[in-house]
């Protein structure tokens, strides 16, 4: 994959970044000694712009922008292979997850279509309390301007009687909605305390 950044380590280093990531993930990034086990275990290395071990190194070097705008953090499938094999007991998958959260907070998301898919999913949870995957596919296709994503699968799914047209509403969906609202309120309070 094409590299979009030229490294100018000193000029772009944000020394607070490693601390931020360590706090968010609860992992000691400084323990990483670049053995490369995580990248070797990762089924997605071939589509990453920076393999997992390089993401770790870039965090150590305070390269906040590069890391938070990387495609890798959004292509990570949270499969846990890296975490299972890191000899330093670093939960690499957790670090990748925290980086996704940070990249969203800092509005630096590169995997926009993936974020969009996640957002549509959460909107359905907020509204109905449960999710209907098959209802989500066409919705996602339209929003991402890829209306034909998986259209080849639709007739087969219908034939098997697996397309639920009306989402099942949870009786306590107001409570589920409340969880989202209280979470949002908590986040903005946390933001204010920080700033």
């Amino acid at each position: 994959m094409e590299r979009v950044h030229t490294l100018a380590i000193q000029a772009t280093s944000d020394p607070r970044f490693i601390g931020e990531v360590e706090r968010a993930s609860g992992q000691q990034i400084s323990h990483c000694y670049q053995c490369g086990n995580c990248s070797a275990s990762c089924a997605y290395t071939y589509v990453y712009d920076y393999p997992a071990n390089q993401i770790m190194r870039l965090v150590q070097l305070g390269q906040k922008d590069i890391v938070l705008t990387s495609k890798a953090i959004w292509l990570c499938a949270a499969c846990q292979a890296c975490t299972t094999r890191c000899p330093c007991n670093i939960d690499v998958a957790k670090v990748m997850e925290s980086l996704r959260v940070l990249s969203r907070q800092e509005k630096k998301v590169s995997g926009r279509d993936i974020q969009l898919f996640y957002d549509e999913f959460l909107k359905l949870v907020k509204r109905f309390g449960r999710v209907f995957e098959t209802g989500l596919l066409p919705l996602f296709g339209m929003k991402a301007k890829k209306p034909f994503t998986d259209m080849d699968l639709a007739p087969r799914v219908i034939r098997k009687g697996k397309l639920g047209l009306i989402p099942h509403k949870v009786k306590g969906r107001k409570h589920v909605e409340g969880i989202f609202e209280r979470f949002e309120a908590y986040c903005s309070r946390r933001e204010k305390d920080k700033g």
């Binding site: 292509l75 949270a78 299972t84 997850e97 959260v101 993936i114 209280r182 979470f183």
Partner: protein
């Protein structure tokens, strides 16, 4: 001779999650049938809601914890101390909620967002954990009436069932064996399968189709090479990628895989003598007729030689 199961019934709270309500309905149906046959009573958590899955995790683990926590809190209110879910994604979310609750730095925020009484005196387990640890392969073997002797089946575990090890606390992270042992108890031959935990492409079927094409294709190819006639899975997402998307994989690799992918509970049900329709075998996209034919031919042969010793 089939041994009667101990009359003592195990009762657990049951969280099927959204996938099992729709795309993976056969996983739900077959799990209920098999648990009933093994004397485990499943009580669906009343008015359960979505665990938030990967999207909530990627948004904020705290949101994920509160969404999953609602279901744990309801189950706890009902007096359960164990909740079983067949979906590894849901299990990860439920366990994640317990972890957040147990973290003194996060508990307060968690409860504030949840707004429900919750003590955390509940444990989340997978279907495999229930079969393998609570029920045991011996009891499963004793329940078999139609052994799968003529079938060669590889178990595909996927990413999450035993990983990360400290978190899941079940089976081996590199070489899990619970499904191997269950399949053996059902009478099947289980070839060595090196891709037990290789990732199938997860949710990228929707956003990055070609990734699933590539990764799932490797798994099907390996199953083929080791001579499997079918794959056993225990995850709705793995099943969807291997089964529903098998046609896409065939296009991607220009191959002609025709590999039935059944849930472990469907294989258990067949071996317990349950009719295929009651296990949702007809819901599979890659038809399992060839397997059913082999099994019924074997059944006839057994009968013609006087059946098994009664």
């Amino acid at each position: 001779m089939p041994v009667e199961l101990k009359p003592k019934k195990t009762t657990v709270a049951y969280y099927q999650g959204c996938s099992l309500e729709q795309m993976a309905s056969e996983f739900d149906v077959s799990t209920r049938v098999v648990c009933d046959a093994l004397g485990v009573e499943l009580v669906e958590i009343p008015d359960w809601s979505c665990c938030g899955s990967t999207p909530a995790h990627s948004y904020d683990p705290l949101l994920s914890a509160a969404l999953s926590g609602r279901n744990l809190a309801i189950a706890e209110q009902q007096g359960f101390d164990v909740v079983m879910t067949p979906c590894p994604g849901c299990l990860k979310a439920l366990k994640g909620a317990l972890k957040v609750f147990k973290d003194p730095n996060k508990r307060e925020a968690f409860l504030e967002i949840l707004q429900m009484p919750f003590q955390g005196n509940i444990q989340a387990v997978s279907n495999l954990q229930l079969y393998f640890e609570t029920i045991g392969t011996e009891a499963i073997r004793n329940r078999v009436t139609k052994p799968l002797t003529s079938l060669s089946i590889v178990p595909y575990y996927g990413c999450l069932i035993s990983r990360p090890p400290d978190f899941m606390q079940f089976d081996d992270p590199e070489n899990p064996i619970s499904m191997d042992r269950i399949l053996e108890a059902l009478g099947a031959s289980v070839p060595e399968f090196p891709f037990k935990t290789e990732c199938c492409g997860a949710t990228y079927g929707v956003t990055r189709n070609e990734i699933v094409g590539k990764l799932t294709g490797r798994i099907l190819d390996m199953a083929n090479r080791v001579g499997a006639q079918a794959i056993a899975v225990s995850c709705p997402l793995c099943q969807q990628n291997l089964d529903l998307r098998q046609a896409q994989v065939n296009r991607y690799w220009r191959r002609d895989f025709h590999m039935p992918v059944l849930y472990i509970s469907q294989f258990m049900g067949l071996a317990f003598g349950v009719e295929p329709e009651s296990l949702g075998i007809d819901k599979l996209f890659v038809e399992a007729d060839s397997l059913l034919d082999i099994l019924s031919r074997e059944g006839e042969r057994d009968q013609s030689v006087g059946g098994k010793m009664a």
